[in-house]
Symmetry: C2
Subunit: 251 residues, 2 copies
């Protein structure tokens, strides 16, 4: 039985009920939330928004993930909904957006049975720096979470997002999406180290990055107080690269 083939277990239409189509039972609330990561001030940070305190609003004043109800008139699909939420808070389209999972239960929202579709996004620090929504704020990740206690089960979702990010960073090129269009190899390595919270070997890192068909040098150097560094950019339309090994396995 799939997608409503069920002929038993129909519930009285508490909140739903379109009459006669066999869909006359209560539907859970459906939301989308986005965990937006950036590396700012040498730290992995997450964008959170402070909730209002209107009538009937759960978790007033608490911080929460950017998100909200699926709008079946405006959102063609879940990802479009996530892109909309992301744009509302940052003003930009993220260079990387991935579905994280869904959380649904009778108790996670005091207003009733609800399920959220969680996404996680990576963006360069510069992209989302000034043009934030007024109620949005960046928080550094400590361990696997952020300091403020979050509304709903968003603390758990953030934790899952950090774990997923760390795990994938071990064997993929995801951190490239946390940097602007041009970057040096030491900058890229630093982002890996910030996300993993662990130092990496310079020579192994360079060998791996350069032998992966991932980045290409541009005809410019990053100049600073010492030896200039070669600038690179992601190769065009590069999906994330998967490496055959993880880095320097911890333990």
């Amino acid at each position: 039985m799939t997608d409503g083939q069920e002929t038993t277990g129909r519930k009285g239409g508490k909140e739903g009920g379109s009459g006669g189509t066999g869909l006359d039972f209560a539907r859970p609330l459906a939301t989308v939330d986005v965990v937006i990561f950036a590396v700012r001030a040498d730290a992995l940070q997450v964008l959170l928004v402070q909730r209002g305190a209107g009538a009937g609003e759960p978790f007033p004043h608490a911080f929460a993930l950017p998100g909200g109800f699926v709008d079946i008139d405006r959102d063609r699909d879940l990802e479009a909904c996530a892109v909309r939420k992301l744009k509302e808070k940052t003003g930009v389209a993220s260079p990387y957006l991935e579905q994280l999972g869904s959380w649904g239960s009778a108790t996670r929202d005091p207003r009733g049975w609800s399920a959220t579709h969680a996404y996680f996004a990576l963006m360069p620090a510069a992209a989302a720096d000034p043009p934030l929504a007024a109620d949005a704020q960046w928080f550094p990740v400590h361990g696997e979470s952020v300091k403020p206690r979050l509304a709903f089960d968003h603390g758990e979702i953030v934790k899952a997002a950090v774990q997923r990010l760390r795990n994938k960073v071990e064997y993929t090129s995801l951190p490239a999406y946390l940097l602007p269009g041009e970057f040096t190899l030491p900058e890229l390595q630093r982002v890996y180290e910030i996300v993993l919270d662990r130092p990496l070997e310079k020579s192994a890192f360079r060998t791996r990055m350069l032998s992966a068909d991932l980045i290409e040098p541009v005809a410019r150097m990053r100049r600073g107080p010492n030896r200039p560094a070669q600038l690179y950019r992601l190769k065009k339309a590069k999906a994330p690269v998967y490496f055959a090994r993880t880095f320097n396995p911890p333990g």
Copy 2:
């Protein structure tokens, strides 16, 4: 704005509407579907059910994934819902159940905007062999899909599940859940090869499996027409193990 903090964009309560709580807008349909894998007859197979042809049923007679609407009175959370669907079709609890992702759009179900939470499950062939529901049937995976054209977007979901399974099998111990409690190393290797559709090196495979803190020998041998093989079992309460490298990287 999160989980209904939105104060704009409220829709007239087409199907929802609990009056006065700020939730008076249409909700998408919410379902759960499960991609159930087993290795049977030396092939990776997926369990599908044939849809009925009642009034208003979309995709009559088509094959689809086991699943159905979330029942907000019976299902405490999404995973409980998936376990229920799985049990209804196989009669057993799967030793491994993982969330795969969610698919939601205005068009995937002709009855309206709907979102499904997809899970994937692994089970030993023996566990689900005879006690199948009458409308359920196993289909071998060819490439990344099954032969019958599936209802809804279930073809896409099966494809994603196969890709996820193959990908994870490269560096985890997941295939152990496709075998009964006791198994030999050649049997385990064979399951890896069936899932990956690629031969593996015997000695490297054995070295990796035995050095991972994953399985332990039992005091019995599998006897056959030739040399007996040592039987192993998963160590108690073992979560899947992640290896630091993939197998024999293709290409």
